[in-house]
């Protein structure tokens, strides 16, 4: 045995990766239900996706408040009674509002699905949005916002989005304290009525599914006046910033700066998306990336640095994000540009590229065995209105992209003059 030599490996690019198909049915009211059954534990994850994100709100913050207050009372149950009921059956209720969609989720024990579905029905038909619940929530929300505004990374995250998309677009809009005062329960109730009670909805359910799952879902949700989604997101005007380079002092006592660099980048429908994903990994997408090796592992400027694509369904962006010591922020930015320059001018070696591909494919392989993860991948494909072959095609792109293509993609997208550059101290 020679410890200097690594054991033989099977190259991940030689693995056959496939995404197991989901099952599908429609509720009596036509709502699509995507199912994936399996897993070692008797648990289930139910996700209702509504087309009710920030894209659809007339007043800033209404979509988010409608989403988070949906659990705060129905005609027959108070907020506390709802929480008690979900908790009693070991179910974890969650709700999230994104730019395009908003979700209501349940994680729980399969044996109790039939106990909690009536609660979901209650939320989707009889939510009352009591005034006092809005007031409590608003006050607490404002306090959290004030605390978050002290954090450089929070401020930087909002600011870079505004620079990319403009302060009127849902991708770039910031919630300010004043927006919250401006919202009434009537705003919320009417948003609820249009976008939840009568909204467009798709249902995703995975895990250890009861045999009568279809009947259970139909009984709870099959007669509601929900709409079938068309998976089309409206076009809204963008107003990106004119100033490209910005420095903000947020907290005079801070010891680190939050660095964000960003450039517009296509969404998943673009032919470059998956191959550029390999370039992204190489550049800053994993622990062995160029940025991490240089800026953390060689210079020690930061605890971590990453590049990534945003998950926007429409106009998208490519970001680089790190927190670095206040005195080394400018040096770190200089190194980021150096790494871009290197990718634009030198072809990546076959060996380094193979490593990145193996890493990426190994990571995908690791997420193809659990029902939640498998349906999660399908959900992404379905909600983005992508082709059924998207997964297979993206694996093919990763396996086949060449050093010359990587260099060409770098030249196309990694141009410093196209990047917004922000530091919040």
């Amino acid at each position: 045995m020679n410890r200097l030599l690594s054991p033989e490996i099977k190259q991940a690019i030689d693995f056959h990766l496939s995404l197991k198909p989901y099952e599908y049915f429609e509720l009596n009211n036509g709502i699509p239900v995507y199912l994936f059954s399996g897993g070692s534990q008797e648990v289930v994850q139910l996700e209702l996706v509504f087309f009710s994100g920030n894209f659809y709100e007339a007043k800033t913050a209404v979509a988010g408040l409608t989403n988070s207050l949906i659990r705060c009372g129905t005609k027959t149950r108070t907020a506390f009674e709802l929480s008690e009921a979900f908790d009693y059956y070991g179910s974890y209720f969650g709700s999230s509002c994104f730019s395009e969609t908003a979700t209501i989720t349940l994680h729980g024990l399969s044996k109790y699905l039939n106990k909690v579905l009536p609660l979901m029905r209650d939320l989707l038909t009889e939510a009352t949005y009591p005034e006092n619940e809005l007031n409590i929530h608003r006050k607490n929300f404002k306090q959290r916002l004030v605390v978050n505004l002290k954090k450089c990374e929070f401020v930087a995250g909002r600011q870079i989005d505004e620079m990319l998309f403009g302060n009127t677009h849902p991708y770039g809009r910031k919630i300010e304290l004043a927006n919250l005062d401006d919202i009434t329960v009537e705003d919320i109730r009417s948003f609820y009525d249009r976008y939840y009670k009568n909204g467009s909805c798709a249902i995703f359910i995975s895990g250890w599914l009861p045999n009568d799952v279809q009947q259970q879902l139909n009984l709870a949700l099959g007669d509601l006046p929900l709409q079938r989604p068309d998976f089309v997101i409206p076009e809204l005007p963008l107003t990106p910033a004119t100033e490209r380079i910005v420095r903000i002092e947020n907290d005079s006592s801070s010891v680190q700066g939050a660095i964000r660099l960003a450039t517009p980048f296509p969404n998943r429908h673009h032919a470059d998306f998956n191959k550029a994903g390999v370039l992204n990994a190489l550049f800053g997408g994993f622990f062995g990336s160029r940025l991490m090796s240089n800026i953390r592992e060689d210079k020690g400027y930061t605890y971590g640095i990453y590049s990534f694509f945003k998950a926007n369904m429409k106009q998208n962006a490519w970001l680089i994000s790190t927190e670095a010591g206040k005195d080394v922020c400018e040096a770190a930015i200089g190194e980021i540009y150096k790494e871009m320059d290197k990718l634009c001018n030198e072809e990546v070696g076959e060996d380094e590229l193979l490593l990145v591909k193996n890493y990426l494919l190994g990571a995908v392989l690791g997420t193809l065995d659990g029902p939640f993860q498998i349906l999660g991948r399908w959900k992404n494909i379905i909600l983005n209105n992508l082709d059924e072959n998207y997964f297979t095609n993206s694996i093919h792109d990763i396996k086949t992209v060449t050093p010359a293509e990587i260099k060409a993609l770098a030249q196309k997208y990694l141009q410093p003059e196209n990047f917004f550059e922000l530091v919040v101290y």
């Binding site: 410890r3 534990q41 070991g90 179910s91 959290r144 605390v147 010891v255 210079k299 927190e323 939640f372």
Partner: protein
């Protein structure tokens, strides 16, 4: 080992086999043939509690150095990534855990990497130099450059006077990390990083004989050492209430209270854990309902413990609504605790948190990586099979036990109270 235990569980048993190499390395194998991946987890029985009070933060800094190359392999990450794997590690006050996941066909790469860094590190001066800086940035990012970031530093110092839980895993102060030397790194390695102080867990679509063969091949020849003797003082019983007030540049006042609780292996642990959830776990919990929703004194409140191996702390933390006097808020909290101590909990309330716990445990066990990690951590504190017996122990807890525990824990003399006040009140 046959899993012939007849208790009925909702969750399937997490089956495993255990064997020990002649150098003292314990090996656990968990077979799961539904996944193409394998997990290799190596846990070392060393954490921040084993550090010298004048050289804190060392266990965690050391974890960083474990990626800086070992005796025969210049970089840890690269061969693993090449094999389609990924990895990470974490350090707590009790232990240090390294884990990686890769396609099962390439599992030998993980054996090669993990065994090499158990033989010896490269002890590279540049790596130490860089990781000192990286850890200092981590310290700043999480504990300095963040409102309320130093709370746990203060709470630990107040609640522990003797036990090494008095400092955080990241270290008591930045200077301790900045002045770490290569000599110290070497002696730390020799003392704690050896087969008798570690547990190796292998999980995935792989058989026990195959793991045995690989373990013997790669780890079998590593020199044995002496297992960690946790040579530090235990915390004596606290005999009077402690109080501390600090002012900092944060937007709102916050109240923190901690009480000493039992260790992870104590029979009272299960009741304590459930009690914590009844008081402050989410939006149907007592404190949230009374103090956030009904009395409007706090904008958020939670009750938790950190699951420490030695005797730990139960903590209640709440951010105050602007303008509320902190004394008034504390009084209202104490009233809730008083009522809890007098009247206890209902059967329904207890059943609720038991169901929540059962569900949370099932979700945790979904991922292969979590199963491997849990086996490793349970084995370090005593017995990996606790993973399979915990749920029954939670189910056995009675309302009477909760009542007794609440009276034992929430004693004035056992309490540590921190007023974290806003220095420059922010205008809204």
């Amino acid at each position: 080992m046959q899993s012939n235990i007849l208790l009925v569980f909702l969750q399937p048993m997490i089956s495993f086999e255990r064997f020990v190499l002649s150098n003292g390395l314990k090996v656990l194998v968990h077979e799961d043939n539904t996944t193409p991946m394998a997990v290799v987890d190596v846990i070392y029985d060393v954490g921040a509690r084993d550090e010298d009070p004048n050289h804190t933060g060392f266990a965690h800094l050391f974890e960083h150095l474990m990626f800086g190359g070992s005796v025969n392999i210049p970089i840890y990450d690269e061969p693993l990534q090449r094999a389609g794997g990924e990895n990470n590690a974490f350090t707590t006050n009790d232990l240090t855990n390294y884990y990686c996941q890769l396609p099962v066909e390439n599992i030998e790469t993980a054996f090669w990497l993990e065994s090499d860094r158990m033989i010896s590190l490269a002890f590279n001066a540049k790596s130490l130099e860089v990781q000192r800086k990286v850890v200092c940035e981590e310290f700043k990012e999480h504990y300095i450059n963040k409102p309320y970031g130093d709370v746990w530093h203060k709470l630990r110092t107040m609640a522990y006077k003797h036990h090494p839980y008095r400092w955080m895993t990241i270290g008591d102060k930045l200077e301790h990390i900045e002045k770490a030397t290569l000599e110290e790194v070497k002696s730390f390695f020799q003392r704690y990083y050896h087969p008798a102080n570690a547990v190796l867990v292998v999980a995935g679509n792989i058989t026990v004989p195959r793991v045995r063969e690989l373990a013997e091949k790669w780890f079998g020849e590593i020199k044995p050492g002496t297992p960690t003797a946790h040579n530090y003082e235990q915390e004596p019983e606290q005999t009077e209430a402690r109080q501390m007030t600090v002012e900092a540049s944060v937007p709102f006042d916050a109240l923190y209270k901690c009480w000493h609780i039992c260790s992870r292996t104590d029979a009272k642990y299960y009741g304590t854990d459930l009690l914590t959830d009844i008081l402050g776990g989410g939006s149907s919990s007592r404190l949230y309902q009374a103090l956030v929703k009904e009395q409007h004194l706090f904008s958020s409140i939670s009750c938790y413990h950190l699951g420490a191996s030695d005797a730990g702390l139960l903590t209640i933390e709440g951010k105050l609504i602007k303008g509320v006097d902190i004394k008034k808020a504390e009084l209202a909290l104490n009233e809730q605790l008083q009522r809890f101590k007098q009247k206890g909990v209902t059967n329904e309330e207890l059943e609720k948190v038991k169901n929540k716990t059962e569900s949370a445990m099932a979700f945790e066990d979904i991922s292969l990586m979590n199963r491997a990690s849990s086996l490793a951590m349970y084995e370090i504190i005593g017995d990996a099979n606790m993973m399979n017996t915990d749920l029954a122990k939670y189910r056995e807890v009675t309302t009477q036990e909760i009542l007794e525990l609440s009276n034992e824990i929430f004693r004035e003399k056992n309490s540590n109270t921190l007023y974290y006040l806003a220095k420059n009140k922010v205008k809204e």
